[in-house]
């Protein structure tokens, strides 16, 4: 670039700036008037804005502006309105019993809406978005329940959790790790595995079943019952229903007897309001068919 004299460009009739780059010169066209006026107008608008709205930061605060605009106040006002709106539905849920909620079409629809969103945010992580569960996490859609499938049972399980540290948490009794803790030797664990396979009406080694009969009565029947039907009060699974939390194969059953895994479910009492707990219980119950079949 070289600075030269300003000259008049004969093609356009406009003066150049005197700047030149490789023979290309810059015309000294003034800014368009409209652009200039908009620019001045923005300056005026800014000055007005400083007066009306919060604008300048100070040492211990900021200029508030004469309109008193505050986004924080707006948000809290909207939140208050939202809570007031939610309060209407919440009050209805608080007043009604779980059965009443499920039987009233309108309350049920409301509870299902609340339940669905709460379930998706909190329960779906383990039980799956549809509640179908996964290995180690119970399926909430069928009629097999560890702690009972009635409305009250489900409500209790969600409230206090299983081995959750809550005062009244479920799951005081534990499945022992028979193998790992050397309560039974390898051969006996193998035999009991065959026995459990036989309980679920599948072909098993008859001799092993024979040998394990006494062991089962001594070690397992206390919780799972003499016929292996389980015990809802202890959360002991029914071993005859063909539904397996940790898998149905011999290997999976042997692993469970050897290691004795005990599931944990958190308590939600502190996290959810009482009406949310109710809505969630109704949601889970309804999605498990909502019938009497869900009660055992």
């Amino acid at each position: 670039m070289s600075d030269q004299e300003r000259e008049l460009d004969h093609a356009s009739g406009v003066e150049t700036t005197g700047h030149e780059w490789d023979g290309i010169k810059e015309l000294d066209n003034p800014l368009p008037r409209w652009w200039l006026w908009v620019f001045y107008a923005t300056i005026v608008v800014a000055a007005v804005y400083w007066v009306l709205m919060p604008a300048w930061p100070g040492i211990s605060g900021y200029t508030k502006g004469v309109l008193g605009q505050s986004d924080r106040a707006d948000v809290s006002r909207e939140l208050a309105a939202l809570n007031a709106q939610r309060g209407v539905g919440a009050k209805k849920l608080t007043a009604a019993s779980l059965e009443q909620i499920e039987q009233d079409p309108e309350l049920q629809a409301y509870a299902l809406q609340v339940g669905q969103s709460v379930f998706g945010d909190n329960c779906a992580t383990c039980h799956g978005a549809g509640g179908a569960g996964a290995k180690g996490y119970p399926n909430l859609r069928d009629d097999v329940w560890l702690w009972g499938g009635g409305l009250a049972d489900i409500h209790r399980t969600i409230s206090v959790g299983v081995r959750s540290g809550h005062d009244q948490a479920l799951g005081e009794s534990m499945m022992p790790a028979f193998g790992r803790d050397q309560m039974l030797d390898h051969a006996k664990v193998e035999d009991v595995t065959e026995y459990v396979v036989a309980l679920s009406r599948r072909p098993a080694n008859a001799a092993a079943v024979q040998r394990a009969a006494q062991t089962f009565q001594d070690q397992c029947a206390a919780c799972h019952g003499p016929t292996g039907k389980g015990d809802l009060a202890k959360g002991a699974p029914d071993l005859t229903d063909g539904e397996w939390l940790y898998g149905s194969s011999r290997q999976a059953i042997r692993d469970q007897i050897w290691n004795g895994r005990n599931g944990v479910m958190p308590t939600w009492e502190g996290r959810f309001s009482p009406e949310t707990l109710k809505a969630l219980a109704v949601y889970v119950h309804a999605n498990a068919g909502g019938g009497e079949s869900a009660t055992d």
Binding site: L8, G128, G130, G131, G289, G290
Partner: protein
């Protein structure tokens, strides 16, 4: 050709007077109407006659319909709105007397628009631009605004004098008065519009105390503005430059369409005529230009059919007045066809052909679409059923080996009464139907309040022996009295059998 740019011997800079850049040139030209033609003010003269009378009558009729409709009450049961015509955006319903449309039924609106378009095609092919001349809101409101203008400023000549005169108190109050009334009409127009979308008696109270919905204020302001500007200032410019219809006309009209026509076969050669002169050897047009000064579009109809002509017929009235005065027969300008004028010019008897391939085609289409709409409206079911099958999990196995599928039924009750629908499931023999909170022993019945949608969770359980395939076609049916609806779905059971 080679262009040599001499970079060494630069030409001497030419000194010019004033701006000379390309932009400046255009700008200078623009100021003298270079790029855009400035609007030439039109001062239509008041005429009297048959077409003017029809236009007044239609103006009163159409404006009455527009302003009165939202105030018609129509009893509907329960909490439903009692306004005869209401577009309820918040509640997502359109009420039109006994008809009530849901958003899913928007095809009726499409049908209505198709009918309107075909009706317009047919009317245009038969009788020319009747819509433009008599019924278009732009024409009607412009007519009303010119009427107001005339009240304050007088007829054509007085208005032209007033505009040319320097400012005075007389000019000021007339102008201010006119614009005030225009704005008032504009406000009334926008104000009436918003009543179609809310309960009118409620809104009119809320509106004045600042409690109306924001959309009401916005649309009222918008329509006040457009009415004031379109009818007060832009007028014929809207028709000529903004409206697509004049362009579409070309495809609708043919030589047999009725249009406002200057019968040149009779009028030419034109020229001034003195009282005693003979009419032999000359046309009836005395070149008095009354047709031109009466025209709200500012055109000369004697130039033949034009894009600008809205076929309002005011020039017919203007010309008829003159023809009576000079003692010639009326209808030198009349609703006529190009073909008829050409026939007369050639000495043949004019033939008017209303039935042509084009008009028959439009009429048949119009009848077909109207018939379809009518059939649809009379045969619509007051209920609707949608089934959403659970996809996660698609099914669950129960303890006893049976399989359960979950569904969400969405039942829409489009009637004005609460209904109880009996729900049945078909497709899987012996399958049982159950809904949470409902006694399993009784048949499933769902109550749906008037004019609402209710979704219901239902579960279908089937024994393994009943399942003939892993994927069985099935259907839900709901029934309430005569009304019934069926929705197809599937019963999935994996490899259950």
């Amino acid at each position: 050709m080679t262009v040599v740019i001499d970079r060494v011997n630069r030409p001497e800079p030419v000194q010019r007077q004033g701006p000379a850049s390309a932009a400046a040139k255009v700008r200078a030209k623009d100021a003298r109407s270079g790029l855009y033609k400035p609007r030439t003010p039109i001062y239509p003269k008041l005429v009297h006659g048959r077409w003017r009378a029809i236009k007044w009558a239609l103006l009163i009729l159409t404006l009455t319909i527009y302003y009165v409709t939202p105030w018609i009450r129509w009893d509907r049961p329960g909490k439903l709105p009692d306004q005869a015509v209401l577009v309820d955006f918040a509640g997502r319903r359109f009420y039109f007397f006994d008809i009530q449309l849901w958003p899913q039924e928007v095809h009726y609106l499409t049908g209505l628009l198709v009918i309107a378009a075909l009706g317009l095609f047919l009317a245009t092919a038969l009788f020319g631009r009747l819509w433009c001349g008599y019924a278009c809101p732009q024409t009607v409101w412009t007519d009303l605004f010119i009427y107001v203008e005339r009240l304050f400023e007088g007829d054509r000549n007085a208005r032209m004098r007033l505009d040319a005169a320097p400012w005075s108190f007389d000019k000021l109050w007339r102008k201010v008065g006119k614009h005030a009334v225009w704005l008032g009409i504009g406000f009334g127009t926008g104000g009436a519009w918003i009543f179609y979308f809310h309960d009118a008696p409620q809104l009119i109270r809320d509106f004045w105390v600042g409690q109306g919905p924001m959309t009401a204020y916005v649309f009222c302001a918008l329509l006040t503005f457009t009415t004031y500007v379109f009818a007060g200032f832009m007028r014929e410019q809207v028709c000529i430059y903004m409206c697509p219809w004049p362009r579409i006309q070309g495809a609708m009209l043919d030589q047999h369409s009725l249009q406002v026509t200057y019968r040149y076969d009779r009028g030419e050669p034109r020229g001034a005529h003195k009282k005693a002169e003979s009419w032999v050897g000359r046309g009836d047009c005395i070149d008095c230009r009354q047709c031109v000064v009466a025209c709200p579009m500012g055109i000369d109809i004697r130039n033949g059919p034009q894009l600008e002509c809205i076929n309002c017929g005011l020039c017919i009235d203007a010309c008829d007045e003159i023809m009576v005065k000079v003692g010639r027969s009326k209808a030198l300008i009349a609703y006529d066809t190009d073909a008829a004028v050409a026939d007369r010019q050639a000495g043949r008897k004019p033939v008017y052909r209303l039935v042509r391939a084009r008009t028959v085609f439009y009429a048949v289409l119009l009848a077909a679409v109207s018939g379809l709409m009518l059939w649809g409206l009379t045969h619509r079911q007051p209920l609707d059923l949608h089934v959403l099958r659970d996809r996660n999990p698609t099914f669950v196995r129960l303890k006893d080996g049976s399989v359960r599928d979950g569904y969400t039924l969405k039942i829409a009750n489009r009637s004005f009464e609460p209904q109880t629908y009996q729900v049945t499931f078909t497709g899987v023999p012996g399958a049982t139907l159950k809904s949470p909170g409902v006694d399993a022993d009784r048949p499933l019945a769902v109550e749906v309040p008037a004019n609402e949608v209710r979704s219901v969770r239902v579960f279908v359980t089937a024994k393994p022996g009943q399942l003939s395939s892993a994927n069985m076609p099935a259907a839900f049916q709901i029934r309430s009295g005569e009304a019934q609806a069926t929705a197809k779905t599937l019963f999935l059971s994996g490899a259950a059998n």
